[in-house]
């Protein structure tokens, strides 16, 4: 302790590069787009410094933009739900499995995490497309007369999103299952619980921190992505990140693009803040180690 007091400048010196980077390259730019969202777009294409809410009232003036915001929330919630349904059982499998291939199996489920997001997204075209795997099998088996249109709808977007986000969910649930004290389960069993009762009364409630952390992560990442809707979705499946991409890269309407970014940031920020207030954000980071 004596040494720490003596060198109280030292941790700050060690932190300076990373704090500087995050402050200058994340905090300041994000504050900057908040300011930018109040600026005016002149007809000439120049941006005029101003303080007005025109960009926000444009977003909420009719139902077009808000409906995309609502769709983003709905699709992300669907994605969370499906990841839970698809992820809990494999996580439980890893937790209970005694096979010596367990670490290999876990490595495998994390592998897609290492594969480029764009390749994983476009790979669904090979599965769901008119000449993709499913249609090819069904048509050549004579079950279908002509290919089923499975691409460019919300289902296809969800496939892409789930494949991207499922490993996050499985990992979070697994980490919290691993943390369960085994003696609690033994106690439940010795007091006459069936396996199912022990799961329902002990394992499931104690795994909820992982479930909620995984859900938060999946929701946040899903709400901020534009690639699956762009590649696998149709015109009616755009999400809010697609709007941002179009405004900033396509039409170069930066004040409006900033305003939409701020709206997305508020959505995500409110959810993360609420989560942190009641559950603590550190659970989310635990799984990533």
């Amino acid at each position: 302790m004596n040494e720490n007091q003596h060198s109280s400048w030292r941790p700050w010196a060690l932190l300076a590069p990373s704090l500087g980077a995050v402050f200058l390259l994340l905090v300041v730019p994000v504050c900057f787009i908040v300011v930018y969202s109040f600026w005016l777009r002149a007809p000439s294409g120049a941006d005029i410094v101003a303080f007005q809410f025109g960009n926000y009232s444009k977003f909420f003036q009719d139902f077009f933009y808000p409906s995309i915001l609502l769709r983003t929330i709905r699709v992300s919630l669907e994605c969370v739900f499906l990841c839970l349904v698809m992820g809990y059982i494999p996580a439980y499998f890893f937790y209970r499995s005694k096979t010596r291939f367990k670490s290999l199996l876990m490595l495998l489920i994390m592998l897609p995490f290492w594969i480029s997001f764009i390749i994983r997204t476009l790979s669904w075209i090979n599965i769901l497309g008119d000449t993709g795997l499913i249609n090819y099998l069904l048509v050549s088996a004579g079950i279908l007369g002509e290919p089923l249109g499975m691409l460019y709808n919300e289902g296809a977007v969800l496939m892409g999103l789930i494949q991207y986000l499922l490993p996050f969910m499985i990992l979070n649930i697994y980490v919290s299952l691993e943390g369960i004290d085994q003696s609690l389960l033994e106690a439940a069993r010795s007091m006459g619980c069936t396996e199912w009762q022990a799961f329902r009364e002990v394992t499931l409630p104690l795994s909820l921190p992982g479930v909620s952390a995984g859900s938060l992560l999946v929701f946040v990442l899903s709400a901020g992505t534009y690639l699956p809707p762009m590649i696998l979705g149709g015109p009616g499946n755009e999400m809010i990140a697609n709007l941002i991409f179009k405004r900033v890269i396509g039409t170069l309407d930066w004040p409006f693009g900033s305003a939409i970014s701020v709206i997305l940031l508020l959505l995500v920020g409110t959810i993360v803040w609420t989560y942190n207030r009641y559950l603590g954000i550190n659970q989310v980071f635990k799984a990533m180690q």
């Binding site: 980077a21 390259l25 940031l265």
Partner: protein, 263 residues
């Protein structure tokens, strides 16, 4: 009886989830060998035609070069920034420690689109054109939290006894770090570098905002190629990327295990 059926259902379910996760990836690799003009079923023989075409495509080779350099530099810069930060968080006590730690991990929770837009517009305002340097600093911010988590977790596991012994023998903090902490931290540093290399190599969401025609990365290139429908060439490029980014962690895991056994 219940146990056996229940468990086998769980196994079946898990297998199905694996198929869901891997079928699309496997199909990309399989179709990349399809000699047909259109990258889809039915398979019509086996050919390396599209790989040969890739190898002769100067644009794509250039994108590969860009991606490798960018990933390598990102790995080095991020790790160099993350190690001292991890030392501060694990080895020192200071006011505001927990909030600052959360702040440094925050980029994980900020949608990448927003990172992309914010940095782009901020740099525009500073009159800085899009450049390779901008891609690099952007990727450092994106990968920093992941590397920090990996290094911090390992540092917590290294007991301070050795460091204290070195100090009591007269080593200054820098010498202690160089001779004791750094070698012990090496596996985490390598893992962190690998992690940030792969994230940078694969990143598309934010990179699309920052890349220019002159410094396209492979994912940005693929995005551009997608405009004209999915060609067999994309499948071949995808297969190369898959093999590259998947073999790296497997190789690293293997090496780590060998080193662990050796010591």
């Amino acid at each position: 009886m219940f146990k056996i059926t229940g468990w086998s259902l769980i196994r079946l379910y898990t297998t199905l989830v694996y198929i869901f996760m891997f079928a699309p990836i496997a199909v990309v690799v399989i179709l990349s060998f399809n000699p047909q003009q259109f990258g889809s079923f039915p398979m019509d023989g086996f050919s390396l035609r599209w790989y040969a075409k890739l190898a002769g495509n100067a644009d794509i080779l250039e994108a590969f070069g860009n991606s490798l350099v960018l990933g390598g530099l990102t790995a080095i810069c991020t790790t160099a920034v993350a190690i001292p930060a991890a030392m501060a968080f694990v080895r020192y006590d200071f006011p505001g420690k927990n909030s600052l730690n959360t702040l440094l991990l925050a980029p994980i929770m900020v949608p990448e689109v927003i990172l992309g837009v914010a940095l782009l517009l901020f740099m525009r305002w500073l009159q800085q054109p899009k450049s390779f340097a901008m891609l690099l600093i952007g990727h450092v911010v994106i990968t920093l939290p992941y590397v920090l988590l990996v290094v911090q977790a390992r540092l917590v596991g290294i007991r301070t006894d050795y460091e204290e012994a070195a100090k009591s023998l007269g080593a200054n903090p820098l010498q202690t770090f160089r001779e004791i902490t750094f070698p012990l931290l090496m596996p985490a540093i390598l893992a962190g570098m690998l992690f940030s290399f792969t994230i940078s190599f694969d990143d598309i969401t934010a990179t699309l905002f920052w890349a220019t025609a002159g410094n396209q990365t492979v994912p940005v290139k693929i995005f551009g190629m997608l405009r004209n429908s999915i060609s067999p060439e994309i499948n071949a490029l995808g297969a190369v990327m898959i093999v590259l980014t998947v073999s790296t962690p497997l190789l690293a895991g293997y090496l780590a295990r060998r080193f662990a056994r050796g010591s």
